[in-house]
Symmetry: C2
Subunit: 232 residues, 2 copies
DNA sequence: CGAACAAGTCAACAAGTGTTCACTGAAAGT
DNA sequence: ACTTTCAGTGAACACTTGTTGACTTGTTCG
């Protein structure tokens, strides 16, 4: 009895040391809470890798991997759906970060498409857990999570549409058609990402194949755009 | 005790009557087995409608909805994954049926795209359960189910590529690029389908919006294809 | 210093899970 | 008519599940 109590405390200690002893910043209480929150979110992302999907993992599993007792979960989230929504925010934060960075580093328009595709796919591989979560929950999660994801993707599409607007070749596009085209690009990129997620990370040949395919598809889209005429 | 036994038999009887008394064809034994098998598959599809996904429903739930005791499940499938694979086959059988029908009824090339899109989306709405299953399991199911779905989609893409080949405007396409383009079309159609699945069936305005969007996207793709040049 | 707060613990709960077992009774085969 | 086959039954198994309540114990605040 006393023994298992100490067990719990030791886990916490370990966690503290892991994060380094430099964490002497103010608000020890809040900081610790935040760390456990992250531990729970990371645990969920970890459990999702491979076979399982978010909707099929249990609160208890998440708690266990996070090194915390099930009851403690409720100090941070009201339930699994709540955790899911937090993960959606988290995942798209990384995505928006990437897009902001990409925007601030203007690429030469010569092979802009190839570079953009490469940048994105590289990024998605580096943040695999987040993108895997999105891919898996986009259609099969609870409706709250699903809607949150869809909202974010719409937002992303609009962002891309805004980035596309200034292009000379796309002068004849009205707002709706621009979003239509951006949606096509986003869908294509997502599809490629989802394919890559299912490929062994070592299989660079297959990854390159998917890569090239996505490039070609987006070039095709731009080719079509150049010939497009929006009717008022 | 005796009471609950009778309960089970009554459920079976009810099922038999539902299906009509005309089922006097030979092989009563096999026919009944097949009916239960279907009942199990239908039960799974039914449970999937709305919030839940296949990976989050239980063998016992499926058995209960099918009006059968859990142990009986094993007379038909070795487990849930087996059922999932059967559902993949089932779902794509309907899809291939549709494509065969579409091919045998040649459309005027004038508004061929609009008609094809309309036909497909109508069909997917009429077979909602199957398409909902595919959409949900495409990325989040067990790897066996996921791979089966991916295989079928690749097959579908190849079929479409073959259908596209004879078009005069696509003369300059080599095989790889033709599949690339077909993949783009398939992705677009799937994305539209998945969007429609999340819309209230009554909301015809929203359905029409998604509809028009998909049409435009595919027209854009064909426009791009007309300008495409495959390099050897 | 002492009180209040709150992130963590343990223990228990009722329900649900997959799977195995010996069984029954109607259809199929002889 | 007699036996075999087998899709179905019910009961039991050893777990896992979400959630609650009473608790401890370090941090924060007055």
């Amino acid at each position: 009895m006393g023994c298992s109590r100490y067990n719990g405390l030791m886990r916490l200690r370990k966690k503290t040391e892991e994060s380094g002893a430099d964490a002497t910043g103010g608000g020890l209480r809040d900081e610790r809470k935040l760390r456990t929150r992250r531990a729970l979110m990371d645990a969920a992302l970890e459990l999702i890798q491979g076979e399982r999907s978010f909707s099929s993992i249990s609160l208890r599993e998440v708690a266990k991997v996070a090194g915390v007792v099930p009851a403690a979960f409720y100090r941070h989230f009201s339930g699994m759906e709540d955790l899911g929504l937090a993960l959606v925010d988290d995942s798209f934060r990384t995505l928006h970060t990437m897009m902001r960075e990409a925007r601030s580093a203007p690429l030469p328009p010569s092979n802009l498409i190839a570079n953009s595709v490469a940048t994105f796919l590289k990024y998605s591989q580096d943040h695999r857990p987040h993108f895997e979560f999105i891919a898996k929950e986009r259609y099969s999660g609870s409706s709250a999570v699903r809607l949150a994801i869809r909202r974010e993707i719409r937002l992303w599409t609009s962002e891309l549409a805004a980035d596309l607007a200034p292009f000379p070749k796309l002068k004849s596009f009205n707002g709706d058609d621009l979003r239509m085209m951006a949606g096509l690009v986003v869908n294509t990129v997502i599809a490629a990402t989802e394919l890559i997620l299912d490929v062994d990370t070592k299989d660079t040949a297959e990854v390159a194949r998917i890569h090239r395919n996505a490039e070609k598809q987006i070039m095709l889209i731009f080719l079509g755009a150049a010939a497009w005429k929006s009717q008022a």
